[in-house]
Symmetry: C2
Subunit: 557 residues, 2 copies
């Protein structure tokens, strides 16, 4: 990037037109600062893919300019990609005490802990990252210890909000520092980068504190065990469950690996306060009177292997549910997970348990961690930016966030609805988006990382919907005729009473095709394979209306 | 079924613990009456399956007792299975004028129209079906001409509600006949079978009429074309769009095959009134001033090949959308479709159009056709049944419907939360559920119908998530050693820079495995295949953490 073009550049490597894999970059001349590196969970079209992370080609090509990565908070969509990209491109990481705890868990799992430079920051820290100075301000969200960032550059100040809401009565004193935000705004913000998750939702995001009274009431009423499922990282929510258990003298068991891990980090680092008498091992739960038991578990999104799913089908070794028990969903289904969650609710009712569930804040057991429209307008008003880039959301959310910015006075031409890889360049206080750098999805599949590739995904889709036929035929190198076969083996292909007959007909047709080609002296295996594919494919389609994958194999001896 | 056991039996062949494939049966001694025969759309775990229909084994085994099928209304989840089961088991069909119109479309497509006995009924009809007398009452729903059914049997009266809500201000005069319902209740209902779709929703279902004012306002405001997407079968909704177009002097184009077909049926049969001047062909739309155009299209559920999806990506041949255009979703996403719908909204915003969308009735452009809790209690109160079976819903809905019945005075022991195939037998006015008949999912896949089978689905799932390796090795019938191969071909298997090397290693390992078995004089191909599978599988897992399908093929010459 030549300085002729621009001194200050801002872009996203992930997080735009999607929920997940957040990764943003601020570059001033030869200094690059990275913000977050999240993962994204694949939808059902990405068959067999475990995780999606950002393409960091640009960073790899400019590795000598990278001054480090600042992580705003510890959610998966902000830290999930870190171990995968560190393997290709190591860099110092700056994050708060709690966030670092969660990152360290990941680095340990990937055996990267020893080789990564980790620095703890807080809202009072100032970092000098080459010519870029980063300072911070506290924001409220659904995980402890979240920061927004102010980047001071010779071109002007750039603010990144992190994920936030304005919660005036947060739990665990996770207050947003509104006074500091006002100072930053007064000092002057050239460009604001702000999250858009709830830009479609009217009003002000409800406070985390509203959960406490509902939780307490449910705990008082429940005649048997009480099971609360929520995100382990929502430490305020976990604390409210602990508080309700305390008031009702219930002991608390933790089910699910991430619940145990994250609660440990939160306790060790002082973000969660659980009385000594309270915790009990899962295997001891059945010994206690049910009305003296509370359980915190993973699986609120319907994940089929998580603790809650197994409890709901009676497949959790140490704990069983009974009709007097009460299950609370203290989380709202993320779009795409509704059906899995519904299945679990059905299973729980079939066990006879009480279930408290519902979308959004309807049950009082959940509030969103992301600001609604009024929160977003409040941030825009505090910061009074000249330029604005809505991030962290699908297109319709960015679109609505843009309208909100306009409504509080940002000029329409100064709002950039960008894509991943689009670069906003600022020169002489004028911002423009005219160029792009490489960006995209990198798939993590098993232990490998790479572009699984559209051909492979197309193959998987075809295999999954239509199945396949492998047709093997053995030919001689020297003579005409067929030595062995054709043999046709099917996998995942349409069941039909007549399928044996169909296969016999396919084999006959392949024999005919091979013979004809031999008569024409065609010796190229590729041509022969194409012909087998075509004739068998057409025949199968005419008989079954299916188009399975056809894999002809020619053995030559 | 011997008459010793029971005189009157009621059961479901589909529709319980699911939304879809509704099929219910009332049997009195040797007379069987079938109610509805719906289809269900498969979720993403049923790879490649097109439709699910009920298992009718019981009916096939008792075909001489079947007196006919009564169809309550024309929605897919009540008529979608009809052509498929008629091929196996023909029977007379009774339905209202509009419902028959939709059934005829299906029968025509499957070339069954000539061979099926169809009888038009209305709310005044009485049918003598052996010893069972069926009469009807009108209910309001989101499609015209819906009926509930009263079965008079020597054992007592059984009422099936059909799908319903209480809409006191319906559009198109689709009034529920509350007076008739009251009469039926007064006469005495032994057993009520009632739908449960919205049993989780508090209050009373809002009226269809609320849509009109919102639709009119949107039509008045829209500066360009206006595009409304809804279910074609919701004729009242379609009529409201027509009315709004009339008030604003817009011409109307219909996009999507089912929109054209269903509107034709509705017009021909007098359920829809479109002025002569209004309809315009899609290809002529671009000639008209945009503010004089309205479009009704399919695709409100995000179906990727429907008209709306193609409009949203600029891939509809005859019509393009521009920033002045307004798109209205006059339907709520069915659970599971949220992500597909969101993608279309994003695409529309990227084209610059206005979009009116939102879940439930939030935009005023959609109301549910199914009664909420107060509607369901109203029905229960009118009918005052001795026994109650909640149907048409997933377990949690049936559960809540059961609680509603209890709250209005049905005895807890008289409420049967059954499964598909569970039979409720009534003898001497006492109802019991102690036995079951066969039931289940039959898959329609291409032109075939059958049990696609769990092995096939497991294969498809494995292929789709992990891909496959075909390993071919050619051996001699008579001698040791390998004549050709091993050759390994992969499809849909993990991409990796080192995959060539991996395949070479697999081939080496297979060679070793084959040689060792030959040394041990193992000549059984199955044993050899098992060994190849195991050794190659273990090696691949150790290298990649993936477990692809391995298909060893041994050619013997």
């Amino acid at each position: 990037m030549s300085t002729k073009e621009s001194a200050l550049s801002i872009f996203a490597l992930g997080g735009i037109n999607e929920i997940g894999k957040n990764m943003y970059v601020v570059q001033y001349k030869d200094d690059i600062v990275v913000i977050d590196c999240g993962g994204k969970f694949p939808d059902e079209t990405l068959l067999g893919i475990d995780l999606i992370i950002p393409d960091i080609t640009y960073l790899e090509e400019n590795r000598d300019k990278i001054r480090g990565m600042i992580v705003t908070h510890g959610h998966e969509d902000h830290i999930g990609g870190i171990p995968h990209i560190l393997k290709k491109l190591n860099m110092p990481i700056y994050a708060t005490h709690f966030t670092l705890g969660l990152i360290e868990l990941k680095l340990e799992e990937h055996r990267l802990l020893r080789d990564t430079e980790l620095t703890t920051i807080d809202a009072g820290t100032t970092l000098e990252l080459g010519s870029i100075q980063a300072s911070f301000f506290k924001v409220s969200h659904s995980i402890p210890d979240c920061l927004g960032i102010v980047f001071k550059t010779p071109e002007g100040n750039v603010v990144h909000t992190g994920d936030f809401k304005f919660d005036l009565t947060p739990h665990n004193n996770e207050y947003a520092d509104i006074h500091r935000m006002a100072e930053i705004g007064k000092e002057g913000v050239l460009l604001l980068i702000s999250e858009s998750t709830n830009a479609e939702r009217k009003g002000l995001s409800p406070s985390e504190k509203m959960v406490a009274s509902h939780m307490d009431e449910a705990f008082l009423r429940a005649p048997g065990k009480i099971i609360v499922s929520t995100f382990a990282s929502n430490v305020s929510r976990v604390q409210q469950v602990v508080d309700a258990a305390k008031k009702t003298n219930r002991r608390l068991a933790l089910l699910g690996r991430s619940m145990v891990n994250v609660v440990s980090v939160a306790m060790e680092r002082g973000y969660l306060n659980i009385p000594d008498w309270m915790l009990v091992e899962a295997r001891d739960v059945e010994q206690l009177p049910p009305e003296k038991v509370a359980i915190l578990c993973t699986g609120s999104q319907g994940e089929p292997n998580a603790a809650l799913a197994r409890l709901s089908t009676g497949n959790y070794r140490d704990v069983s549910l009974y009709p007097d028990d009460t299950v609370i969903f203290a989380a709202s289904p993320i779009p795409g997970n509704e059906r899995d969650v519904s299945k679990i609710i059905d299973n729980l009712y079939q066990l006879g348990t009480q279930v408290i569930y519902g979308s959004g804040s309807s049950t009082g057991m959940h509030v969103s961690g992301h600001g609604y429209q009024e929160d977003l307008k409040f941030m825009l008003t505090l910061m009074k930016p000249t330029y604005f880039i809505p991030i962290h959301g699908e297109y319709r959310m960015l679109h609505h966030h843009g309208l909100l910015a306009e409504s509080v006075g940002v000029k329409r031409d100064n709002i950039f609805i960008i894509k991943n890889g689009h670069v906003v360049d600022v020169k002489d206080l004028v911002a423009r988006q005219t160029r792009s750098i490489p960006s995209g999805d990198i798939f993590v599949d098993g232990m490998g990382t790479g572009d699984v590739g559209s051909i492979m995904l197309r193959d998987r889709k075809l295999l999954s919907e239509e199945g396949m036929l492998v047709i093997v035929v053995t030919l001689s190198k020297t003579e005409r005729g067929i030595i062995s076969g054709p043999d046709t083996i099917t996998r995942g292909f349409t069941f039909d009473q007549n399928s044996d007959q169909l296969i016999r007909q396919v084999n006959k047709l392949v024999t005919k095709t091979v013979m004809e080609l031999q008569d024409e002296n065609v010796r190229k295996w590729n041509v022969m394979k194409q012909n087998i594919k075509r004739s068998a494919g057409q025949f199968i389609f005419s008989q079954t209306r299916r188009k399975p994958m056809i894999l002809p194999i020619i053995i030559e001896i």
